[in-house]
């Protein structure tokens, strides 16, 4: 069995992701209400549907991973890839290098 963190932490994590993506009115969103609803339901059923609870827990963990990874992926995407290909100077700058400059400034040979 995969090591799972506690349902409460996953629940909080999902709600946090919903808040980050939806803004201050996240409590009105479909996802928020559905997630809260599911967590309450599974709490009530308790040990009787143990397998179903595990299934739900695994699914919620996957959903949390989906939301977090998508957000982080977008952050990196916007930071590095969103503007298209970089110029040679920018690309060199990213790895801490500078392009060689002409000794007398650009076009000195003319």
């Amino acid at each position: 069995m995969a090591a799972l963190s506690s349902p409460l932490r996953v629940c909080r994590g999902i709600l946090k992701e919903i808040r980050l993506s939806q803004g201050p009115n996240y409590r009105q969103s479909l996802a928020y209400n559905y997630v809260m609803d599911q967590y309450r339901k599974n709490k009530v059923t308790g040990e009787r549907y143990c397998r179903a609870q595990q299934e739900a827990h695994h699914a919620s963990q996957a959903y949390l991973c989906l939301l977090t990874s998508t957000r982080n992926h977008m952050v990196l995407h916007n930071l590095y890839h969103a503007k298209g290909e970089r110029s040679p100077e920018q690309a060199a700058g990213m790895v801490g290098l500078r392009l060689p400059t002409q000794p007398g400034g650009k076009g000195w040979e003319k």
Binding site: M1, A2, A3, L4, I18, S21, Q22, S29, L30, A31, Y34, Q38, A52, Q54, E55, H58, A59, Q61, A62, Y63, C65, L66, S69, T70, N72, H73, M74, L76, H77, L79, Y80, H81, A82, K83, G84, E85, M94
Partner: protein, 278 residues
Amino acid sequence: MFRNIVRFQSLYGHMICKVCPKKELFYSTAAAERKKFYQDVSISQGEGGLFEINLDRRKLKTPGGKLFTVPNEALAIAVATEWDVQKETLKFYTMHLSTLCNTALDNPTQRNKDQMISAALKYLETDTVCYRVDEPYGLVELQNNEWDPVLHWIENRYNVTIGSSSNILGPEIPEATKDTFRQHLKSYNFWSLTGLEFVITQLKSVVLALGMIDRHLGVEQAVLLSRLEEEYQIRCWGNVEWAHDYDIYELRARTAAGALFVQLSSESSTVKHKLMQD
């Protein structure tokens, strides 16, 4: 009525970044984006108990022109959320669940279940966890320590022989093993098979994909095991954020979407079953 049809030509499986004609110098994902044209996203239950997505008052359609329907509420809400969280532009490459639903609904490659099972099992012959290295010693040890337990687990779970090899031809997979998996995969419905095949192609491994679907591995674990050699190299040579982290988040998002998709689309039958019992 035709004005109410919402269609997206670019919302299939693997998105290809096109060159934007106006800015020919730049290769950008901007071409795969579209302006957001709706405010509210809601779901509704239509004919046959299937769930639909409404963007303002228009019904969402698939790229193939079919009505977008999903079998259960959870999946519908997850898809609706994907549409809801888009800001000014629609970034289709972040909407993995919608993409998977579209693939399952339209079936763009026109394959049947048997063909999909064969395609999925083809990955078993070149499964990531079956290919081992001879050197360097650290990586050999890492592969043995991390991959062997999963391999043993799946061999016991399905009572099959898979084995591993450091030969370039890979291990010889017995026909009986493939038959066992084929029988097992036949119990999946079309939707969950679509999701499973997607996960297998992401992780490049049938063993890891089934380990995750059978809830032996978590998503993060499965992704880590799939990228074991890369992780080893990162440990030796350092991490590059815009390549390694970028890849790992994308792979995690895709894998999680696939896993969730399989679970949610095979769940509808369980839920019905429970209602009948009550």
